[in-house]
Symmetry: C2
Subunit: 317 residues, 2 copies
Amino acid sequence: MKNPITELFGISYPLIQAGMIWCSGWKLARAVSEAGGLGIIGAGSMYPEVLDEHIRKFKAASDKPFAVNVPLLYPDIDQLMEIIAKHEVPIVFTSAGNPKTWTSFLKERGITVVHVVSNVKFAKKAEAAGVDAIVAEGFEAGGHNGREETTTLCLIPIVREAVDLPLIAAGGIGSGKAMHAAIALGADAVQVGSRFVTSEESSAHLAFKKTVVDAEEGATILTLKELAPVRLIKNGFFKDLQEAYARCASPDELREILGRARAKRGMFEGDLEQGELEIGQVSAGIHEILPAKEIVNEFIQDFKHCQERMAKISASL
Amino acid sequence: MKNPITELFGISYPLIQAGMIWCSGWKLARAVSEAGGLGIIGAGSMYPEVLDEHIRKFKAASDKPFAVNVPLLYPDIDQLMEIIAKHEVPIVFTSAGNPKTWTSFLKERGITVVHVVSNVKFAKKAEAAGVDAIVAEGFEAGGHNGREETTTLCLIPIVREAVDLPLIAAGGIGSGKAMHAAIALGADAVQVGSRFVTSEESSAHLAFKKTVVDAEEGATILTLKELAPVRLIKNGFFKDLQEAYARCASPDELREILGRARAKRGMFEGDLEQGELEIGQVSAGIHEILPAKEIVNEFIQDFKHCQERMAKISASL
């Protein structure tokens, strides 16, 4: 499937696995890249030496393209970037920060740069910063998210209208049908998070994977908007937040309740009640844990069937 | 275009205009129905005698199918239903209430019944109540909305999975591309609100229409979740709500701030600062006021172009 994204990354399918803290190490990235998509090592939950190890392991196990996702607010970002440069990582996805800061450093080293945004304004800023492609992520996505609450269905057409770069849709993409929908809206590719959280190769705790599989509609919510909006499962920790909101707690109190390392506690250590369980709304449509390769294949088959169905529908128009 | 919805309603295109308070009288309904879609008279903002007049005027001006939208919490609903039965209105869309209450009354009179839901649970209840079709409306939609905040992209696949009825997607559908996306996700048709608010035939105040055309991303928000969640434009009235939220106001205080007739004041009388301006997120992608017929034609052309583009993309897969 040739399009601006498959050609930019040198991959077979316009399907990119999201960089997700505590879920996306080299094993998941390798499985996705080997299946024809783009695998991403999520550096957000890794110490520099851990990232170094994951990149080395990926490269020893696969010669396919891959990427590293770097949240730009990461405290030791200089070290991460040096490791990325040292290993000649082909593609870097940056998020949660100003794309101006690191884009030229990466581009000068021949690295393809993609920046994640949740609105048109930042899409334009990323384009001005010289990135090669943009991920536009809608309100339904798991984890950290934008303040405008624009859904993928509304976001993709206006970002497509505003920038000329290759465009990747994220948020709510759980099947080949949704991939078809996102490309119809103007995206060149999709980025898939929640589905890969529940892949066999994901490093998420099995209890968290099972929680995602069992999640029904309305199980997640975008909360902590006073700090940084994040979509998570409504568990015991969220109930504590709700009580705080009910008494009109200040942002400082919310920060104290949140504390540190809650995401690790929930997603990696499997504390389902007091951990932070970041996942997208699309979890309501996820029903099983599968190998990443099967997820990729299912997306592509589903996409093709969808196209055949749409061709029939259109023929009668 | 033959599919379960076009056949159920006897229309040419699977494109339905939403029933919108203060916007959708007989003129808009007629324009949409005459253009090959399904026009709807929105009874929510009409006294019974006003609805009677609008139905009579529609029938005098057009012999195309049309519908009336009835919010089931309407105080004089018995009178509305008698008027609908008297005029042999072919199709009724019910919303905001229990579909059990009126479905059999309508079905016994040969009227096709469609119920609007925002989650899977109510979709199943509507199916059990014997309705003929379902509208599933996502978080991005304008006006009153569901508590789960499920976006159209996530909602349509899970409703499609849960019920066998003809399915209409609503929320965020502003173009033929979005129509294509919604049908790819499993819908049989789309319901379009915001685009028709800005049609020439809409009875919205011109100042409100212009506000919608000028609205940028992030201009709307889903608020008043403690009463009934509603998506509206962030204007002076919303700022008052924000101040109330900041002081942890009770639902009663919020109700007092809301007061009565704010929607009329905003959308019909054009008070842009203190009125309630209900509109969807897709307003960010709406750039002009057009005749409803042109909106319908644009949707269908855009849908066809989208299909041609998708066929090329898929051919390379």
